[in-house]
């Protein structure tokens, strides 16, 4: 199943939702009809000028787009290499890129006449973003969240409740994001008639990897324009963190055919890939089938999905979006591991040099941007997707440093 040489990266997946050998619809028979219905609705809506106008309006007036590109001068000086630019997705309403997707999917749900929204969440950012759009549209919202994640993301859990969502703890398996996804899928299988499942990342069965990517490509489209306008050229490299990979594909996509732009995804190397305590599916995993698609997964020789580790709940996932698997095999994007320690160091450095608290997830991308900046001369530009803000992680960071708040 080798991926052929690719000339055009912008027109994937194919009609079956496949990105080369990856993607597809590996789901139970009961989901085939709802997925077909969703695919049909979404493919129609993405070409519907009225829908597109409504989405653009919401992104501008509700989300607060466009998000700026900020030149992190003091950070760049401190690093002493290339200039580091930050795409400020942390400034979006609800504090992360996740809202780009939930605003879009909620509009699809509304057009399809669904009255109930379900979602899975890891760090809680997607759960908050789902609860937010559900509240705004007056839809019932149920968010599945691993019991372990509920413990480490209490603030987001409470935010979801304030927004009127029901947060259901998932106690099966590793009690994290992957199990929350299983549970949300089971809810959907059981309640397909009135329920819309807002998947938070570019994984899952077709059309989710396509749809979630589309709603996030606004990040890269804006960034590409902003770079040309503000800097007169494209960046030399782009970094983004990769768990499921929605913010990364969001910023990468508009640049996929600009071969001179180096694309680097930062996966969670946790305590180090050699320790086995990590979540680096692309860097250390193998092709397999999980959550409705073929992609790189972390599993043992029996095919059992292994438990992952990352200081950041949002990256703590044993699979990855199939388009990233495709880009890796095609050699168009690189995927590297960033450890907990490196991410935390980047978090502190960014806070002290620029006055920005980045999410722990995004801190992986910042750490990778710093590494690249060190390799490059001062006139090079490294664009980092600052996908979310770090307020939600303050407790986690304090606890790690032995401080009780």
């Amino acid at each position: 199943m080798a991926t052929p040489k690719i000339d055009d990266f912008l027109h994937w997946p194919d009609a079956h939702g496949r990105f080369g050998a990856y993607g597809g619809s590996y789901v139970a028979e009961t989901l085939m009809a709802p997925l077909a219905e969703l695919t049909e609705a979404y493919l129609r809506l993405r070409e519907d000028p009225e829908f597109v106008a409504e989405l653009d309006h919401d992104l501008k007036h509700y989300v607060g787009r466009p998000s700026p590109i900020y030149h992190a001068e003091r950070l760049s000086q401190h690093v002493g290499g290339a200039q580091i630019l930050l795409k400020r997705e942390d400034l979006n309403h609800t504090g992360a890129h996740k809202i780009n997707n939930t605003v879009g999917q909620a509009l699809v749900a509304k057009r399809m006449g669904k009255r109930r929204i379900i979602a899975e969440t890891g760090a809680g950012q997607h759960g908050v973003a789902s609860a937010t759009v559900a509240a705004r549209l007056g839809l019932e919202c149920v968010v599945y969240m691993g019991a372990v994640d509920i413990e480490r993301q209490k603030i987001n859990v409470y935010r979801m409740k304030l927004l009127g969502a029901e947060v259901v703890p998932v106690t099966s398996g590793s009690k994290t994001l992957k199990d929350a996804l299983n549970e949300a899928m089971r809810d959907w299988v059981t309640n397909v008639a009135d329920t819309f499942y807002i998947i938070g990342t570019v994984a899952g069965p077709h059309p989710y990897p396509l749809m979630v990517r589309d709603f996030n490509t606004i990040v890269g489209r804006e960034a590409r324009e902003q770079m040309l306008e503000g800097y007169g050229r494209l960046p030399d490299a782009i970094t983004a963190c990769v768990g499921g990979g929605s913010n990364a594909i969001g910023i990468f996509h508009a640049f996929l055919n600009d071969r001179a732009v180096r694309l680097v995804g930062a996966e969670a190397a946790g305590e180090g890939i050699a320790t086995g305590h990590h979540a680096a599916s692309l860097a250390a995993g193998r092709p397999g089938v999980l959550h409705g698609n073929r992609t790189y997964v972390l599993c043992d020789d029996d095919g059992q999905i292994t438990e992952t580790h990352s200081v950041s709940a949002g990256l703590d996932y044993p699979g990855v979006g199939p388009e990233h698997a495709f880009l890796k095999d095609a050699g168009r994007a690189e995927y590297v591991g960033v450890t907990d320690e490196e991410a935390l160091e980047a978090f502190h450095l960014l806070a002290r040099t620029e006055g920005i608290l980045a999410a722990l997830e995004s801190s992986h991308a910042v750490a990778q941007a710093i590494k690249l900046a060190r390799e490059y001369p001062k006139d090079k530009l490294v664009l980092c997707n600052l996908s979310g803000r770090g307020d939600k992680d303050v407790h986690t960071i304090a606890a790690r440093e032995g401080i009780s708040l």
Binding site: S25, V27, A28, E29, M32, A33, V189
Partner: protein
């Protein structure tokens, strides 16, 4: 003729409804996995559905999820399951065995290698929950080796797709009696009856009905219009926690016998 086809031919000739119990391989006790299979046959099983434990059983309810977790915690993997089938075959050359589970364990094992080992062990078919017809090209080595791909059909299956499933059905077609996960307790018999009658008229293989069958009464209701009844979660629940061979056999008998009798008394 394949063991599954032979079994359904016999059932039809004798006017009986097939009984297809599902158990998760290695639960409740890996040491008694083969004894459990024999007990199923002794209590009237016509086909055995053996669940291959998987860490992320997306389409299963809590009962089978937990059985899977218990088996995995005891180290049960695909290799063990194939070993148990091989051992079972030494004393039972006739009862068809279908492995039910998810794609990843087989993908990681390797399709060609799995096909060869499964046939050598005496497996007759596979039911891969997350491998719909559209994605089943990867199963070519299994088909070439003679393993039947048992397909699922559901109440939500659209008419055009149903026609395709009926056309492609082999071994038996497994009709999931409602939209939901395994083990849920909802069943509208009249609804299912109408759907199954239609499918049976068109499918190129016998039709088994499952999902939500819990006891003799619900099994009997379905027996009136299906070629076979699949019964899973309720049995797995009954077996949970048993550790002695005798206890396992007793529980199987206590559970399956009334169902077998109800099916035969029709």
């Amino acid at each position: 003729m394949n063991r599954i086809d032979r079994r359904f031919t016999t059932l039809k000739a004798t006017g009986r409804t097939g009984l297809i119990p599902f158990v998760t391989a290695g639960d409740p006790s890996p040491g008694h996995a083969v004894a459990l299979m024999r007990a199923l046959v002794a209590s009237g099983a016509d086909v055995i559905e053996l669940g291959v434990p998987f860490s992320d059983p997306m389409a299963d309810g809590p009962v089978i999820q937990h059985a899977s977790e218990r088996a995995i915690a005891k180290g049960v993997g695909l290799g063990d399951v194939l070993g148990w089938v091989a051992e079972f075959r030494r004393s039972d050359a006739d009862t068809p065995v279908v492995l039910m589970g998810y794609l990843n364990p087989i993908e990681i094992h390797g399709y060609a290698r799995f096909a060869e080992e499964a046939v050598a062990a005496g497996v007759d078919g596979v039911l891969l929950v997350d491998c719909p017809l559209e994605e089943s090209a990867v199963l070519a080595p299994l088909r070439e080796a003679g393993l039947k791909q048992i397909l699922l059909a559901a109440p939500t299956t659209a008419p055009a797709r149903m026609a395709k499933l009926c056309e492609s059905a082999e071994g038996f077609l497994y009709y999931v009696s409602f939209a939901g996960i395994t083990g849920a307790a909802r069943l509208s018999t009249a609804d299912i009856a109408a759907r199954v009658a239609d499918i049976r008229a068109r499918a190129k293989a016998p039709v088994a009905v499952g999902f939500g069958v819990r006891d003799a009464a619900s099994a009997k209701a379905i027996a009136g219009f299906a070629d076979a009844v699949v019964i899973g979660s309720a049995l797995v629940e009954r077996l949970a926690g048993a550790t002695e061979e005798g206890d396992i056999a007793d529980r199987v008998q206590g559970f399956l016998r009334p169902i077998r009798e109800a099916l035969d008394a029709r």
